[in-house]
Amino acid sequence: MQTVGCVDARLPIHSDMDLVWVRQHVRQTAAQLGFGLVEQTKLVTAASELARNTLVHGGGGEVEATVLRNGHAPGLRLAFIDEGPGIADLERALSDGYTSGDGLGMGLGGARRLVHEFAVDSSPGNGTTVTVTSWTVRPPRHREEH
């Protein structure tokens, strides 16, 4: 249904300060598109988790933000891209409480619950791309039930 839009912004993720910029950008863009406060907060929080994973586990990378206007309502797609070690066992990575570091292990699975669409493209040695999309109005047809 949705065709690929062109990327509207590309932000680096190489430091804690970059995470601040990413959150601000997502918050601003979501607000402009007409996201309600709750959906805005959810998307920003998901972005915060995923951007931090890009930084901490992926060794840095970038986020591509794309505004989608050809769905039933405006949407925002965010792709977090790194060229780090990749995720060997995705199911385990997504499970609540699993962490390879000293986090809570809630980031990846939590982010999935905070957005409307969620996809991970990763394999060991080939980096990781996590793509999430949320719409200002929840899609009528539930694509996925968490």
């Binding site: 804690d16 805005q40 907060t41 920003v44 915060s48 986090g103 809570l104 980031g107 619950r113 905070l114």
Partner: protein, 299 residues
């Protein structure tokens, strides 16, 4: 054709501009030293201004000789980029806006072009025009390089200030005997939360506090890292004999925390700072005594 010969003799206009700059380095630097940009930055000694000007002219000559008059990334600029950044920063610290700085850099152009044209009085009009154009383009590129440095510097400055703000703005307020509160504002990253934890624990000791309220009304995003920091702070305070109450969790944030799957179950939370204070007073058994008479006694 004589025109052809001239061009052949001198090589490309860019190279000729490079040669000219090297030849006339002293004179151009002397004139630049009197322009607002150099006069306002190098207030102590004119010699210093002339030296700084010479360095820039040498860089420009290198860029021109390499035939890259339009290239802001040309190698020649590398050696003076730092100096140009400092110059631009000094101007903006002195209150000059970016348009003004841009104009001041542009004012370096006429002395170069005037001298160049005077030097070429024997050449054909066509050749003079080409060289003047090359020089003008080169000076425009210099202007871009300066503005770019200034922008980068501006962003670095904002980053630094933000850092400072994050690390300093953690006042601990004594609300009541035995009750302290920290209103958290902004990003609660690792560095900042370390500061918060230390300040809070210190004041728990100093104030003999039994209750510590962490108010997160001013924290825009609560993700798993922020939650982890909050829980660590709560645990540490507990070890010091104080109970922590987290207040100011806005409705949107509460919903997000639930979806994220974070379990704040072990943490006492209240909607507002006032609710948290009421809870602490109640637990402490102080009750809300009449604050007026209490104040009167204290006085």
């Amino acid at each position: 054709m004589p025109e052809h010969e001239t061009a052949g003799q001198h090589g490309s206009p860019a190279r000729e501009v490079g040669d000219f700059l090297r030849r006339r380095r002293e004179q151009v630097a002397q004139r630049w030293a009197d322009t607002p940009l150099f006069r306002t930055v190098f207030t102590v000694s004119r010699d210093e201004a002339v030296e700084a000007g010479k360095a820039v002219i040498e860089a420009l000559a290198a860029v021109a000789s390499a035939g890259r008059v339009e290239d802001t990334e040309a190698d020649g600029f590398t050696v003076v980029r730092e100096q140009l950044t400092r110059t631009a920063a000094a101007r903006s610290r002195a209150g000059a806006g970016s348009a003004q700085v841009s104009n001041e850099v542009d004012a370096l152009r006429p002395p170069v072009v005037d001298l160049l044209v005077a030097d070429l009085s024997q050449s054909s009009a066509e050749h003079v025009r080409e060289c003047a154009t090359a020089a003008t383009v080169l000076m425009g590129t210099l202007r871009l390089v300066v503005m770019e440095s200034a922008l980068n510097e501006g962003r670095a400055l904002i980053d630094r200030q933000r850092m400072e703000l994050l690390e300093t703005a953690t006042p601990v307020i004594k609300l009541w005997d035995g009750i302290v509160a920290v209103p958290l504002i902004g990003t609660l990253d690792s560095a900042r939360s370390q500061v918060v934890m230390e300040t809070l624990l210190e004041s728990v000791v100093d104030q003999h506090a039994r209750f510590a309220i962490l108010d997160i009304t001013g924290v825009p995003t609560v993700d798993s890292l922020v939650a982890q920091h909050l829980m660590k702070t709560v645990a540490a305070a507990r070890l010091m004999g104080a109970e922590c109450i987290v207040s100011g969790i806005r409705p949107a944030i509460a919903q997000t925390i639930v979806h994220l799957g974070l379990d704040l179950g072990t943490v006492v939370t209240r909607a507002s700072l006032a609710d948290a204070l009421a809870y602490a007073l109640d637990q402490q058994g102080s009750g809300i005594v009449d604050p007026v008479s209490r104040g009167a006694v204290a006085r």
